[in-house]
Subunit: 347 residues, 2 copies
């Protein structure tokens, strides 16, 4: 297509010639190997700078002949969100394979600290890097720290273990997510007085408690006319959520807002529909799925707070690769945002 000019095609040889040294010396400088006088190092570095030389990434990789092995440790459950992450990884496999990077997916019971710890200890050392949907538990933290100490790169995914030595957390700030949901509910209610209910999966999960903390704070500070009820636990289960919601809608006449912190949104929608209060009660939930997309379109939901699973998966992969190759990580690019989705900006 265009091969007359070779952009920045300065090679090692060029640098060596320009600096008046041999290729071997440039190589020594480039890799910080010993045996070069300071003055020479400076001269070579100046030449590299002046020529704008960058080692040809493809050539370097080829010569190094390294291969990478990563693993995603994920929950067994059939959760749409987690499935999307896995599918993204699977879809990226061909591309990754061509770059001599292998990615496995291991499913385990991430809610069982012992099981998760065991998994990490068993399989961790066979990889260069791990992405873990982690439970915040002392034993899990210890397992992560051990892996990091052994030189294995670990990133937490979706759910963080903040006190651990993991290189990074790829996921959203759940307190902020809760605040966002609360603020939207408050504003959509538009001055009416009444109660706001919250349905959580389980308050043993830190992301769920974080979200509850978020909505509590924002309602308390910004919406004095609203009263936040104590959270109900529905185990992310459709049927349980349906029952809880129907009961709630029937027993609390001044219910004006509803926040489903976890999964099982179809159940909540069904419960609201039973009570005939769909649309009257402002309802915000999490995660964009085929269901929530439909609920937004037909008016059963007012907004969805979402984190893009595909983006998280790719971000985790990029971070793991960058860590393994000792390349810098672009914080801006790897920060996962809290998406607000309403009917009008559905992707």
């Amino acid at each position: 297509m265009n091969d007359e000019i070779d952009p920045s095609s300065t090679t090692l040889k060029d640098v060596a010639r320009e600096a008046g040294v041999s290729i071997a010396t440039v190589d020594r400088v480039l890799h910080g190997r010993p045996g070069v006088r300071k003055a020479t190092v400076a001269r070579v570095e100046e030449t590299i700078e002046r020529l704008g030389f960058r080692p040809h990434a493809a050539a370097a990789e080829l010569a190094r002949g390294l291969t990478y092995r990563f693993c995603f440790v994920m929950p067994k459950s059939t959760n749409v969100f987690m499935e999307e992450i896995q599918q993204t990884v699977v879809r990226e496999r061909a591309w990754l394979t061509a770059r001599r990077t292998r990615v496995d997916i291991v499913e385990t019971d991430v809610f069982d600290a012992n099981a998760l710890t065991q998994t990490l200890e068993d399989i961790g050392p066979t990889y260069d890097g791990l992405a873990v949907v982690a439970l915040d538990h002392p034993r899990v933290r210890a397992a992560i720290d051990d892996l990091v100490a052994a030189g294995i790169h670990v990133v937490t995914l979706v759910s963080d273990v903040p006190s651990s030595k993991r290189a990074r957390y790829v996921g959203i700030d759940n307190i902020a997510a809760g605040r966002t949901a609360g603020s939207l509910i408050g504003r959509f209610i538009g001055g009416r007085k009444g109660k706001v209910a919250v349905i959580a999966g389980s308050l043993a999960l830190s992301d769920h408690t974080d979200r509850f903390i978020g909505i509590s704070r924002v309602i308390a500070s910004d919406f004095p006319d609203l009263e936040l009820m104590l959270p109900l636990e529905g185990r992310d289960d459709d049927e349980t959520n349906r029952r809880l919601t129907a009961k709630l809608a029937a027993e609390v006449p001044d219910l004006v807002g509803l926040y489903n912190i976890g999964a099982g949104t179809p159940g909540v929608v069904a419960g609201l529909a039973e009570s005939g209060r769909t649309g009257e009660v402002v309802f915000v939930g999490h995660d964009l799925t085929v269901h929530t997309r439909r609920f937004l379109l037909n008016g059963s939901m007012d907004a969805v707070i979402s984190q893009n699973p595909g983006r998280e998966a790719r971000s985790a992969l990029r971070v793991l690769q960058a860590l393994a190759r000792k390349e810098p990580i672009s914080t801006a690019q790897e920060t996962i945002g809290i998406d607000i989705v309403i009917r009008e900006n559905l992707p």
Copy 2:
């Protein structure tokens, strides 16, 4: 770190041996070169499939020795949003250079069809691919189509030329963006009756007209209590916007919502503040900048509709690279979303 097992390290040689043919034949099959019997092609392909062989990307690139040259054609103006795009490109340069990809940025008057056409004709043919912030004009379209016909990959950025043969549009759906803004304004107003005003930069820009179409439609269909006023044109200028807004706020007592379609949001905020109606009038604008971020935090704005400039720049780069290398493009990854930003989910 981990070099005992080589994930998917099947090479051309392995495939040749397994299929009982020579490396040359595998190479012929792999690149669709003629001179191989159908039966042999099938056998080789089967073997490739069975072994999960993927050509080592780094080796292939090295052997091919290709280099790529791309160019971003962008407006001259000192617009924060456009600047961010440019900065992202600049930041990615080191990485790109290591992959023998050179990216230039050319500034031109993209609002002048002749100037833009001239630029495209002049510099276009020296590149493998272009990302253009395009004006939708017949001459521009013709210039783009000519480039595409000459085998140069073209993507439109931020602003599209839908009827052209450009490979892709990297940016948001502006009608949907307008709908989103309108819907948020309507919901935040919360049942009050009144007027909603719109300030545009110039209705000669298709993205601005598109956004106006969007808000018009959603107000008409979803918020019968609101009356949308005719749009004012403020040329994206702070001072003009300030004057327009102050006049508006003074003359329209039942103003309940305000939508700034383009830039110059600080001016609008100043105008609202002068009239003492900040907070009372729901105000939504575009693009997250240092200014709009501050306005969200101090309550001068209720929401910002935003497209992430860094993400757009990287997406354009990825698309151009994929096109040049004839790799598939992941539509899901390259779709730019309409971000809703409120105080609570500020990144």
